[in-house]
Chain length 135, copies 2
């Protein structure tokens, strides 16, 4: 499925910023930050437009946001598009990358009476395979 088709299927207007963002995160093997996405885009966009595009794409569950320690924000293609399950994310302390662990599903936790859950985020922090080899 192409970026344009994804936008169309959600009745979202095809703008180069949105299309570009989807294209970039689709090609990425890891979650990308705003800056990393900007670097990979051909066009140049205002920060505001960028933020609004992320917001829209998130609302329509085309991408999802992963936050590490309240400053590092990364975006990845959402499962709704990839047709995979909710998964855990891995953050490497050394290379500062975030990766969707498609093979690590997020379990359903048993909550106390009266609590109901909507979604669960699992972030595993550590050292990735690549950085481990370099040690």
């Amino acid at each position: 499925m192409k970026p344009v088709d994804i936008l169309n299927s959600h009745n979202l207007k095809r703008t180069s910023c949105r299309e570009g963002i989807i294209d970039v995160v689709m090609k990425a093997s890891q979650a990308l930050s705003e800056i990393e996405i900007r670097e990979r885009l051909t066009g140049n966009y205002d920060r505001t437009t960028f933020y609004r595009s992320f917001k829209t794409l998130e609302e329509y569950k085309i991408i999802h946001k992963i936050v590490v320690d309240n400053q590092l924000v990364k975006y990845a293609l959402d499962n709704t598009v990839t047709h995979k399950n909710k998964h855990a994310h891995f953050y490497c302390n050394e290379c500062n990358t975030v990766k969707c662990m498609e093979n690590i599903p997020v379990q359903k936790y048993q909550l106390p009476d009266g609590y109901s859950d909507i979604e669960t985020e699992v972030l595993i922090k550590g050292t990735c395979a690549h950085c481990k080899m370099e040690d």
Copy 2:
């Protein structure tokens, strides 16, 4: 264990800001934001001092930080002090509170070859028992 004793046991100087923060989070049933902690303190402190105090207390594992959606930051007493296990956190979308779910331990996830984990964060989002009743 009193706030002062906690500071002493870590060879940290006893300052009213640190002591106050520990005192407040010890008494709280939920994780508190910077503002919520400030409101409960008697003294008035500069933002910088506040941030530095949080940082120090975090480094010494006296408190821990829980981040929701990259802007909401809350602090709670750490397990090192409470002598409990690593636990999941619950965020209520309605009342914006964060609670340590002491009874929901964080499981150890099986990672792909070469990956090693240091810590895992689990944040469950939903509606808390109190808000559910009000619906």
